[in-house]
């Protein structure tokens, strides 16, 4: 049997879910044995394989145009899409921005903050992504498996990866749900 291919990326989050993934500690060796880790933020392939991957994992919500692209590309190239962590599942702490207008948030950060000097301006170079309302992944593309938690604990992540690597859909209930 060929190893299932797994790709991941992070968007509007904090990298904490990927850190929790690394918190599986030495079990990373097991994962490397049963799955083929493709593009991830901690490896050097930049995009999920064009030929497709079996599992796509997204951490973080979607808060700008670049994240929208990441979500669409991942969805298109993976068979099963996992939303990892509260930001991906619900929007999380970054979604608190939705209580303000994007303009208000940008003005505070780049013009009004006490340490910002007279060069203050809202960055808008064409190279930069444009901020949007903060959304859960499922508001932008269909999600197959939601793994909540801030972050989900390492045991839960290991369980999810191991089940997927073995061709089963993980069942998330009871101690597999972290609500804190």
């Amino acid at each position: 049997m060929t190893k299932p291919k797994i790709a991941s990326d992070w968007m509007a989050g904090c990298a904490g879910c990927h850190m929790s993934l690394l918190d599986i500690d030495e079990r990373i060796v097991t994962i490397a044995q049963v799955a083929d880790l493709r593009s991830t933020p901690i490896t050097d392939l930049k995009q999920p394989d064009e030929s497709g991957v079996d599992v796509g994992i997204l951490e973080g919500g979607i808060n700008n145009t670049a994240n929208e692209e990441v979500a669409h590309t991942m969805r298109k190239r993976c068979k099963l899409l996992v939303a990892l962590g509260d930001c991906a599942v619900f929007g999380g702490v970054p979604a608190m921005r939705n209580f303000f207008t994007i303009e208000e948030s940008l003005r505070r950060a780049y013009i009004e903050t006490e340490s910002t000097d007279e060069s203050g301006q809202i960055p808008n170079d064409p190279e930069l992504a444009v901020p949007t309302r903060v959304r859960a992944v499922s508001e932008v593309v269909p999600v197959d498996i939601n793994v909540p938690g801030c972050p989900p604990d390492a045991d839960t992540i290991f369980y999810v990866l191991a089940e997927l690597a073995n061709g089963r859909i993980p069942e998330l209930k009871d101690d597999k749900l972290s609500w804190y």
Partner: protein, 475 residues
């Protein structure tokens, strides 16, 4: 030949999201390279209206790699704001948690993020130039690295209940005392952690010796250096005054962190969501400085633990006592700090106050304004809050570690691109060196873009009019 542009997106093995654009002139030489930090989150705005005591739990969500730094900087800002300085045992316990974090973050960066470049090579196959490749190439070393990170993470979990986003520091102290059994359990892991850090140090020294040419031409430039110090100008990560030195090592300032606005300001460029802090008296960009491991060792005359101090003495010889300017020596400095952090864990655990249950100051003398500063793994982290009398926040200002290094990272990208890239024979390995220039700083772009964090790599060659010419993508 027409002018062209190369885009690297995403930049990998760093925290967060960024892209690099490299502009080539008609001859195919690099005219200018930019680091664009490509995300904005807006914590400074959306925390307005929250109650100040919530901040030690909200702000760690700025960064999952160094959540403890935000947790502690926030708690320190709250100590001031509510007027409730923590009792000594609480400060020791917070510092212990911080040392756990420095150990896991520095260890992970060296072995798991930057390590593949050094251990497998800048030009290694990008499909395996990563931690899994490292497991394959040297499983014994990879396991040591995993255990070093685990040692640090377990300190955090022992104190704060969990490894990422712990719940521990509160205004006036911490919420749980340490037990003797917990202390002994942590102490039992110290020797192994020190031995792993020393393995890393030896790898780094050997690599520097065999790659001296790279070390000496890879983004070497003068700046100021900035960070906390002990009263004797020793290395300090948790609490102290901020010392700023110039490019020659002369002290420019040594000030109380709460007065940071008197000394530094942030410049904004249109092409990045990450601001550019600088020393006000010298202005921008003359007043730029570097933070993090390289900056901290340059401002420190000594280290208060013996093994790290011995390493610092060797490190100071690199540039005959003058500040070390080589970007690749960030890795070396990081490992010396890692050694200090593990030694400091033992020092703290042997302190007679460490098991005390006097961990919370419940008397408050409300001030309404508070500044909290710690040395996060990546540099000086500043939280500044203003609250109404009911504790509701009116304003929040954050200057995050990686931000201070923004100019240096951008300059490193420009410098490495100019040194290594010429003409149109641009290989993946050369582009990886450009990324490595960023990686050396161990940026945390989620942090720096609290306000702002995304580093993605694709190479896009554009005609002079901006139309796409060729795209090189790593996938």
């Amino acid at each position: 030949m027409v002018a062209q542009k190369i885009t690297i997106e995403p930049v990998t093995r760093i925290e967060g999201h960024a892209k690099v654009t490299i502009h080539l002139d008609e001859k195919g030489d690099v005219s200018r390279a930019y680091l664009h930090v490509n995300e904005f989150r807006g914590f400074e705005k959306f925390c307005e209206g929250r109650l100040a005591f919530e901040m030690p739990n909200i702000t760690p969500r700025i960064c999952g790699i160094c959540p403890v730094s935000h947790h502690l900087a926030s708690a320190k800002a709250c100590d001031e704001l509510y007027g409730c300085p923590p009792p000594r045992p609480a400060a020791l316990l917070r510092e212990l948690m911080h040392m756990g974090q420095v150990t896991q973050s520095h260890g992970m960066h060296f072995f798991e993020l930057a390590g593949p470049d050094l251990l497998l090579g800048f030009d290694a196959d990008p499909a395996t130039r990563n931690v899994v490749g490292l497991i394959g190439a040297n499983p014994e070393l990879a396991l040591k690295a995993v255990n070093l990170r685990k040692f640090g993470q377990e300190i955090i979990a022992t104190l704060g209940g969990r490894r990422v986003h712990p719940n521990y520091a509160i205004p006036g102290g911490v919420n749980k005392a340490l037990t003797a059994a917990e202390r002994d359990h942590i102490l039992a892991g110290v020797d192994e952690a020190i031995s792993t850090v020393k393995v890393g140090l030896q790898i780094m020294k050997d690599w520097a010796t065999s790659h001296q040419e790279d070390v000496d031409k890879f983004a070497v430039f003068p700046t100021g250096y900035f960070g906390l110090v002990t009263p004797e100008n020793g290395l300090e990560l948790y609490d102290g005054k901020i010392r700023l030195i110039d490019r020659d090592g002369k002290q420019l300032e040594c000030f109380e962190p709460r007065n940071y606005l008197d000394h530094i300001a942030e410049h904004v460029e249109n092409w990045s969501y990450l601001k550019f802090p600088y020393y006000k008296k010298l202005g921008y960009p003359d007043g730029v400085y570097r933070v993090g491991p390289l900056g901290r060792l340059n401002i420190s005359d000594k280290i208060d633990t013996p093994q790290a101090h011995a390493e610092l003495k060797l490190w100071k010889q690199i540039n005959n006592g003058k500040p070390v300017e080589n970007t690749l020596y960030y890795h070396y400095a990081r490992l010396i700090e890692n050694l200090f952090a593990v030694e400091k864990v033992a020092v703290l655990l042997h302190d007679p106050d460490i098991l005390s249950t006097d961990i919370l100051n419940t008397r408050r003398d409300f001030k309404g304004v508070g500044v909290g500063v710690v040395e996060a793994p990546r540099g000086t982290l500043i939280h500044h809050y203003w609250a109404k009398e009911n504790g509701q926040l009116e304003k929040v200002n954050l200057i995050v570690s990686t931000g201070h290094n923004n100019w240096a990272m951008s300059n490193s990208v420009d410098s490495v691109a100019k040194t290594y890239i010429s003409g149109h024979e641009v290989t993946e390995g050369l582009l990886n060196r450009v990324e490595a220039a960023i990686r050396a700083h161990d940026p945390c772009l989620s942090c720096s873009t609290h306000a702002v964090g995304q580093m993605p790599l694709e190479l896009e060659l554009l005609e002079a009019d901006g139309s796409p010419f060729r795209i090189i993508r790593r996938d």
